[in-house]
């Protein structure tokens, strides 16, 4: 390696230096000379022997050597050393230029060869080291192979052992399973035996008991007795009754009574629960309607077809709301209607909320509006300011109090009494005012009460008249019917009952808008109009029919009121609307509260989580 390095070092230097070194080497270093000689000596032996004693060229054999050289050179493809002979006789003359050229070329060749030799040598070295390296690698790999082979053998051995073990374990498992099976069988047999034994023992025990019983009880044991000073009365004060069949029957009766009472109680409870749930549903529905109705216009403007159909439902539902009597019916149609409508509305609400959510998220994406959101710094500044203000106010109050105290101490008793009198007078006046206000209110109340009683009386009269009318009408109908033959009578009765009512109701329904207009139009309640549109359709389904009927009957009654006291219906409706509004009003704080509580709860949670941290 070291040699190789020294050899490569000059190679790294510049070309000229390299060459010069070689030239100097060829000239000066004896080793190189020797090597050259050695190289030369590799040429034919005869010459070698010949040149061993004498130099190649001497004074005598210049010509020969030249010719020899020429020959040699020409055989190597160099141009001849002699000039081109123009004639055969003329002695060929040595061409010095050619000789020089040849020499130069030879030198160049020599240099090239040397270079090549160097290269080959370095390459050789390189290859040698590579070889060493590879051999090392090979040895290592061989070792590795050996170890891995050994390992493999070990693993195989282990695998075999494990398999053996596994087989053993399997065998053991099998044995255990058999054992378990056996034990289970034993347990089962033991259990049966135990049960059997138990039964036997128990029988024996019973026999013994019986025996003991006989021995102890039937011996007329004198000791078994009760000493009482005197018998006390029963707790209920009654005397004991004889045991008869009657008492047995009474006991049974009582038992069933208790059971019945229990069932009734439970039924009542369930009914109550049902009613409450219904109420909740109803409220939910109302709230939903009130929530959804303001959005009525918006979707319409957007011409959203999905909500368009729904809006009509809402209107319907709004109409249904007035018929609260239907809620008490627990028939299936009503229930279905209720659940369906609520489901529908719930879906609308859900979609709406989702829409809102989307909008909110959009807004979020757009980024916060700086106007809407107060930055925290501002908030803190504001709070600081407010706190400062509070401090100032407190100080002010304190100074005022001090001043007042000073004043009070400074003032003599007269002034204080005067002041007190002043206060008293003021209070008196205020009280008087209040008194008058109260009186007025009382008067108003009285008036209202009177009007109410009057209205009630009138209503009663009306009702009576109506009842009479109906009775007479029914009577007439009945009389009419009796004239028909027996088969048709029932159908006719039913039919007439329906037709009669519809006949009678329809005019009222039609008349209602007419009557309503002056009152309804100014109030402009959408609820009322929807009601009317709902009741108008000509072919309602059975349930609808029922509803319309109930609706109509309600109207008719209200109409009767209308006829007599047209003013009163208006406050009624207004009142209803008011309740609706109240509802919505009431619902809002609720929701806010819910929100607040939610916030607080989350806050509390956060607090708790904070506590969790060490």
């Amino acid at each position: 390696m070291g040699d190789w390095m020294t050899v490569t070092d000059p190679g790294l230097s510049s070309e000229s230096k390299y060459i010069s070194q070689y030239t100097s080497e060829t000239k000066m270093s004896p080793s190189s000379l020797y090597s050259q000689q050695v190289l030369c000596s590799s040429i034919p032996l005869s010459k070698n022997v010949h040149s061993f004693f004498s130099a190649f060229c001497t004074e005598e054999n210049i010509e020969q050597s030249i010719s020899y050289l020429d020959q040699e050179l020409t055989t190597f493809g160099f141009p001849s050393l002699y000039e081109e002979s123009k004639g055969k006789e003329t002695k060929r003359e040595l061409n010095i230029v050619a000789v020089l050229n040849c020499m130069n070329e030879l030198l160049v060749l020599q240099r090239k060869n040397l270079l090549a030799q160097e290269n080959v040598e370095t390459q050789n070295l390189k290859l040698g080291s590579d070889m060493d390296h590879l051999q090392n690698c090979y040895a290592k790999l061989k070792e590795q192979l050996e170890t891995s082979r050994r390992e493999m053998i070990g693993l195989q051995e282990r695998d075999r052992q494990l398999q053996c073990k596994n087989r053993n374990l399997h065998q053991l498992l099998k044995n255990e399973k058999d054992e378990v099976q056996k034990l289970q069988n034993i347990i089962a047999s033991r259990a049966t035996q135990y049960n059997h034994d138990m039964k036997r023992k128990e029988r024996e025990y019973n026999k013994l008991k019986e025996r003991l019983h006989q021995l102890v009880m039937n011996k007329k044991d004198k000791k078994i007795a009760m000493e009482v000073l005197n018998y006390v009365g029963r707790a209920d004060g009654k005397r004991g009754s004889w045991r008869t069949g009657k008492t047995e029957a009474r006991n049974e009766d009582e038992m069933y009574k208790i059971l019945l009472n229990d069932y009734e109680y439970r039924q009542k409870q369930i009914l109550m629960e049902n009613a409450e749930l219904k109420k909740v549903l109803q409220q939910m529905k109302k709230e939903m309607i009130s929530l959804l109705s303001p959005q009525k216009q918006k979707p319409r403007e957007r011409a959203d077809d999905s909500t368009g159909t729904v809006i009509s439902d809402i209107e319907e539902d709004a109409g249904e709301l007035s018929r609260e009597s239907t809620w008490d019916l627990s028939c299936e149609t009503v229930r279905e209607q209720l659940t369906n409508s609520i489901r529908k509305q719930w879906r609308i609400l859900k979609s709406h909320v989702e829409k809102l959510d989307n909008q909110v998220s959009k807004v979020h994406l757009e980024g916060f509006n700086d106007e809407d959101v107060i930055s925290r710094q501002d908030h803190e500044q504001e709070t600081e300011k407010l706190e400062l203000e509070i401090q100032q106010c407190k100080e002010m109050i304190k100074t005022q109090q001090q001043l007042l105290q000073q004043l009070a101490t400074a003032c003599d008793d007269d002034t204080t009494s005067l002041l007190r009198d002043c206060y008293l007078l003021e209070e008196k006046e205020r009280l008087k005012e209040e008194w008058s206000l109260f009186k007025e209110q009382k008067k108003n109340f009285e008036k209202e009460r009177r009007s109410f009683t009057e209205a009630a009386i009138r209503l009663g009269l009306e009702r009576k008249a109506f009842e009479e009318e109906r009775a007479s009408w029914l009577k007439q109908q009945f009389l009419n019917m009796t004239t028909f033959d027996h088969q048709n009578s029932e159908n006719v009765k039913l039919f007439s009952a329906f037709s009669g009512s519809s006949d009678r109701d329809n005019p009222t329904v039609h008349s209602r808008p007419r009557q309503k207009k002056p009152h309804g139009a100014p109030s402009g309640s959408p609820v009322c109009t929807s009601k009317l549109t709902k009741s108008l359709p000509a072919s309602p389904s059975t349930s609808d029919f029922c509803q319309t009927r109930s609706c109509v009957s309600e109207y008719s009654s209200s109409i009767s009121v209308l006829n007599t006291t047209p003013e009163e219906s208006k406050p009624n409706q207004v009142g209803r609307e008011c309740t609706n509004q109240k509802w919505s009003m009431a619902s809002r704080p609720d929701s806010q509260e819910g929100c607040c509580s939610g916030c607080s709860s989350t806050h509390a949670d956060a607090h708790i989580e904070k506590d969790d941290l060490p």
């Binding site: 019973n206 044991d221 029963r234 707790a235 049974e252």
Partner: protein
């Protein structure tokens, strides 16, 4: 909280009368009746031998003293001190004695459960009930005192007899589908009877008053079963505690399980309050330490094994394990896990979740609900009484020279006072009026 002076007592026999006016206590063979508020002695009766059991009649007019060793029952009247009654069961022996709900009959169970003798104080008549079953809870009266349900065993089969208490007539007699009936209990409304099998099998059967089988419930098979059963005061729920360390709540409509409460070793829910008793160096301070919820309950795990023996011993009185509360409004259910006998678990039935865990230093001996409000009194055999309410938890040192080793507690009807019983002494603990208590608990709660 005020304590009365300490009185003598033997075999933990101290009972308030059902009307709350009197307090009866036993000292060896003497029965002392005191006024419940002033604690002045009203009556003093002397029995023939050491009293082993006392019971007030439902109308608070009579007291029954059972002397099992002699097979004797002595009855005393509060109104007429000179009136006396002695029932001798003779060679048949006596193992249990109790009043009928009307307070005019005494039911005596003879040895070997040969029969139950019904003695009347009104007439000379004596009734016998044969074949009573010797089990955990074989006799149960309805709350209104109208019916008696009795577990029977005939021909290796379990039966239940329902008798009318007014004339001891048999109303219904039916066999139960059980291997070995362990107990029966009426629902507080007196319409449903719960019957459960012995611990070898998990099985609970529900019968109507007329003997119809309403439902059967089995949570699991092939393992130790029911340990204790308790009705809620509203009869709406039935709590069933079992050997798998869980309490199952059944509802009264479908008789199916509503929920299942386990006893987790660690509690991670921050809403659950864990109270852990800790000893303070000055022991006279009203020591109470409540740790904020999480990670506090890791302790019992290590002590589990050592306490297990204790738990096994306590299985003999398993009714104390899980007991429904006496409150309609806020229904709580405490359970006492056998693996951790020093802990009391309280669940909220309204929210169906664990509410609090009380971890005491030593094993809980007895706990009882305040009959009026959500308040639980607990004793652990030490010199302190612990009171828990949703507002907080307090421990009170019971005064008395040498310290009173509190083994049992007993509430007065009104919930105003509490009898604190030790092996040989007892005293009364008067609690403040509700407002005072409220503030006291409030202050206690501030510590958390």
């Amino acid at each position: 909280m005020n304590f009365s002076e300490v009185f003598k007592l033997s075999s933990l026999l101290c009972k308030f009368s059902p009307d709350g006016k009197y307090l009866a206590s036993c000292v060896q063979y003497r029965l002392v009746v005191r006024d419940a508020s002033t604690l002045q002695i009203c009556q003093l009766y002397t029995c023939l031998d050491q009293i082993q059991h006392i019971e007030w009649s439902a109308d608070s007019l009579f007291i029954l003293c059972a002397l099992y060793k002699r097979g004797l029952v002595q009855v005393w009247s509060l109104e007429q001190p000179e009136w006396h009654c002695k029932i001798d069961e003779g060679s048949a022996g006596l193992v249990a004695s109790c009043w009928s709900p009307d307070g005019r009959h005494i039911l005596n169970t003879t040895e070997f459960h040969l029969r139950i003798t019904v003695w009347s104080l009104c007439t000379k008549s004596v009734s016998y009930i044969k074949y009573p079953k010797a089990c955990q809870q074989g006799i149960t009266f309805t709350r209104d005192g109208r019916y008696l349900a009795l577990a029977e065993r005939r021909d290796c089969k379990d039966y239940v007899s329902i008798l009318v208490c007014s004339d001891w007539q048999l109303l219904r007699h039916f066999d139960t589908d059980t291997q070995d009936l362990a107990g029966i209990e009426w629902a507080p409304n007196g319409c449903v009877l719960a019957a459960w099998d012995s611990c070898l099998e998990y099985k609970i059967l529900l019968y109507a008053l007329d003997g119809r089988l309403l439902s059967a419930f089995c949570a699991y098979e092939r393992s130790l079963g029911i340990k204790s059963v308790a009705w809620s005061p509203s009869s709406q729920f039935l709590a069933v505690g079992s050997y798998d360390g869980k309490v199952r709540i059944l509802n009264h409509v479908t008789w199916k399980m509503i929920t299942e409460f386990g006893h987790p070793a660690t509690i991670n829910n921050p809403k659950i309050v864990v109270y852990k008793e800790a000893e303070k160096s000055p022991p006279l301070v009203l020591g109470r330490l409540a740790f904020p919820p999480p990670r506090a309950a890791a302790g019992p795990l290590s002590s589990m094994e050592s306490e297990y023996a204790e738990a096994c011993r306590r299985q003999s009185q398993p009714q104390d394990r899980h007991r429904g509360t006496g409150l309609q409004s806020r229904q709580l259910l405490p359970g006492d896990e056998e693996c951790v006998p020093s802990a009391v678990w309280i669940w909220d039935i309204q929210k169906l979740r664990l509410l609090a865990v009380l971890e005491q230093l030593s094993a809980v001996r007895c706990f009882q609900w305040d009959p009026r409000q959500a308040r639980l009194a607990i004793c652990t055999g030490g010199s302190k009484v612990y009171l828990w309410s949703p507002a907080g938890c307090v421990s009170v040192q019971v005064p008395g020279e040498g310290g009173l080793q509190v083994l049992s507690v007993c509430w007065h009807l009104s919930g105003d006072s509490l009898a604190v019983l030790s092996k040989d002494r007892f005293c009364l603990c008067f609690l403040e009026t509700e407002q005072g208590v409220g503030t006291a608990f409030g202050q206690a709660g501030d510590h958390t």
